[in-house]
């Protein structure tokens, strides 16, 4: 797997405490060879961007199940650009309605993962985008 040596930050922005998906993906990415950092719950966009920049990650995965994905992803991507870190690929996972996919992609989100997707397909998608 080419995920070896890739650095990935999995983050929980906002107040949503449903962290199962974030942890499952973090474990799977780790098993696939990546170095994974997990922020824990309730991080502000500012804190997440700070960690992403300081840790020099290749990818940032945002786990959001509260319906606030548009606001939070937009705010985080804007801050990454301000920090000159627009090259960090941002993925969003959670309960994301299909009708929001296009808007998220337009904001600069590289991939959207829902619970219906298999772990294998998520890893494959991350792999292809990071290589």
């Amino acid at each position: 797997m080419t995920l070896e040596k890739k650095r990935i930050l999995i983050a929980k922005p906002g107040l949503d405490g449903h962290d199962v998906g974030a942890k499952v993906i973090a474990l799977a990415l780790r098993d696939a060879g990546a170095e994974v950092i997990y922020t824990g719950l309730r991080r502000s966009p500012e804190q997440i961007v700070r960690i992403a920049v300081d840790e020099d990650v290749d990818m940032l995965g945002l786990s959001i199940l509260s319906g606030s994905h548009k606001e939070l992803a937009t705010s985080i991507i804007a801050r990454l650009r301000e920090e000159d870190a627009g090259d960090i690929k941002v993925f969003v996972g959670g309960t994301i309605p299909e009708e929001d996919f296009e808007a998220l992609r337009a904001e600069g989100v590289s991939g959207i993962f829902t619970s219906e997707m298999t772990i294998e397909s998520v890893i494959a998608e991350v792999d292809s985008q990071l290589s």
């Binding site: 107040l15 949503d16 405490g17 962290d19 942890k23 499952v24 719950l41 309730r42 502000s44 606030s68």
Partner: protein
């Protein structure tokens, strides 16, 4: 015999999801001569009531709340009009985590997963035209449970309803929030103190109200098995009992008002066996370990939620059938209150239409199926009695593991339980991906999505955030600031002591229209914040 779920849970034909190997035929000898006792008698395997549901049907209690207090009040009156018998309040994340609507952390989440309830002014609107002396109200609230309970008392005071007449439940179970769902605020030990304060105060002020509902539901939905759900819940229950006793509570008294809350997933007989085993174990533990003799104090009363992660976003109408089967399991397991999820809850806040079907599902089970006719209808089934024994054994083994680790509080502070559940969730996901765990519409009977699958879409009033912020501002302007400052200062002073109960001060703060955020900030100053152990 039993094996840990991790290696076996996905051989669905021969093993239950918890990992119990099931023979094709269970013989009368295997079902054993376990001392079942009669319904309503120790150890209550067959239920806590002698007359089952003939005396009183379970409470139909649909979890609901979104947007503003006005829109939620309207939905409550709709549900009560359609035959619901109790309210269950869903609160938004800022209210659950202790942030006011105008806090930067709150902005994007106002009114999203529940109603925004920042001050007494909103609570007054929420319960407008609802008779609190007749309708019981349940609050799914934990980190800020003591505050929301205080607010409920303040609303009742203002409406002139005597506190002694109030019925309902606050979840108030912080231990499981550290393990799953994550609406913790303070470190574990001051949180336990706050819960003890509220439970002891409630016993005295609102004797018909359940001040804690010890919940396995969230860890279950996060990924663990039915046996683990019951084991962790019983372990948490014992930790609370020890804390309340340490604070001077009389167990024969407070144990009568302890209640429990679980998920019901799809394995019908394992779910029934889980409830029967849990009920028996709780009664035995309170009797043997604490010498409780009062029958009422030994009774394990529980509510359930049917649906959750057993529902699928694919072919969502199938969820109506799933919830129907789960409701049967809840009733045959002897639940005291049931919440049935709507078929569209896997992807949105239910519409009035889907919420009504969920409610009707319970009425169909209650009125048409005949399942409520006789108490414990599965009692004496070779399979169910055998499985109840097997579950009891497995639950006991899991509880012993937690004890061996150093107890549930330590296991949570260290992140041990959190890591275990994350592993379980991954196994479950992998089993679904591979098809080892069959889920219709997901890995069996799949097809392309069609337009008609989802039905009507729920749309939230786009003005919600603006309205909530405006109302919040108005309340802040109108209140007597000196009274707020005084009440908050008294709260802080009580929190700084080890022994003074903070509840009377929280009620005073609510009456003065102090905000949830202000009360939380005052307590944080004394108690600090929980630092999440990151371990995976």
């Amino acid at each position: 015999m039993t094996k840990p779920a991790s290696t076996t849970q996905h051989d669905h034909l021969s093993r239950t999801p918890s990992g119990i190997e099931v023979p094709i035929t269970v013989t009368p000898e295997m079902a054993g001569e376990a001392a079942l006792g009669a319904p309503g008698q120790f150890p209550f395997t067959r239920g806590i009531f002698e007359n089952g549901y003939r005396g009183r049907l379970w409470t139909i209690r649909q979890y609901s709340g979104f947007g503003t207090a006005e829109s939620t009040n309207e939905r409550y009156r709709f549900l009560l009009d359609r035959g619901q018998t109790g309210l269950s309040v869903a609160l938004d994340l800022p209210t659950q985590c202790g942030y006011d609507p105008d806090d930067e952390m709150a902005m994007s989440e106002i009114g999203k997963v529940g109603v925004s309830l920042s001050t007494l002014a909103e609570a007054e609107i929420l319960f407008d035209q609802i008779d609190l002396s007749k309708i019981s109200t349940s609050f799914t609230i934990n980190g800020t449970a003591a505050i929301i309970y205080a607010m409920y008392l303040a609303v009742a005071d203002k409406k002139g309803v005597p506190r002694a007449q109030l019925t309902g439940t606050i979840q108030n179970d912080i231990l499981k929030e550290y393990v799953a769902r994550g609406t913790w605020i303070f470190p574990v030990r001051p949180s336990m103190r706050l819960i003890a304060d509220s439970v002891l105060y409630a016993n005295e002020q609102t004797p018909r109200f359940n001040p804690i509902s010890i919940a396995g539901a969230h860890v279950r939905d996060a990924g663990c098995t039915a046996a683990e759900e019951m084991a962790y819940t019983l372990a948490n229950g014992l930790a609370y009992v020890d804390e309340f006793k340490r604070r001077g509570g009389d167990i024969d008294h407070f144990a009568k008002r302890l209640s429990f809350f679980f998920y019901v997933h799809m394995d019908l007989f394992e779910e029934v066996a889980k409830f029967r085993a849990g009920r028996r174990m709780w009664a035995k533990m309170l009797s043997e370990r604490y010498g409780v003799s009062d029958e009422k104090a030994l009774q394990f009363r529980f509510g359930v939620v049917c649906g959750g992660s057993s529902l699928t976003a694919a072919q969502p109408m199938n969820n109506v059938v799933r919830v129907g089967i789960e409701t049967m399991a809840a009733v045959m397991g002897g639940a005291q209150s049931i919440f049935t999820c709507a078929f569209d809850e896997a992807y949105q806040i239910p519409t009035e239409n889907s919420a009504e079907i969920a409610l009707r599902t319970q009425q169909i089970v209650a009125q048409e199926s005949g399942v409520a006719r006789t108490v414990d209808p599965l009692g004496g089934s070779y399979y169910v009695e055998w499985l109840t024994d097997q579950m009891e054994e497995m639950i006991g083994t899991i509880m012993d593991e937690v004890d061996a680790y150093g107890g549930v509080v330590k296991a949570i502070e260290d992140g041990y339980l959190q890591a275990k559940i994350a592993e379980r969730a991954k196994e479950r996901k992998e089993a679904t991906d591979s098809g080892a765990r069959p889920v219709v519409g997901v890995n069996v009977g799949t097809r392309d999505k069609s337009e008609s699958d989802r039905g009507e879409m729920f749309s939230q009033d786009p003005e919600t955030v603006k309205q909530v912020l405006e109302k919040h501002k108005r309340t802040m302007e109108r209140r007597d600031q000196a009274a707020v400052d005084k009440a908050l200062a008294a709260l802080g002073a009580a929190a700084a002591t080890d022994t003074e109960n903070v509840m009377p001060h929280l009620v005073d703060c609510c009456h003065a229209y102090a905000t949830v955020g202000e009360m939380v900030a005052t307590l944080k100053k004394e108690w600090g914040e929980f630092q999440e152990p990151i371990r995976f």
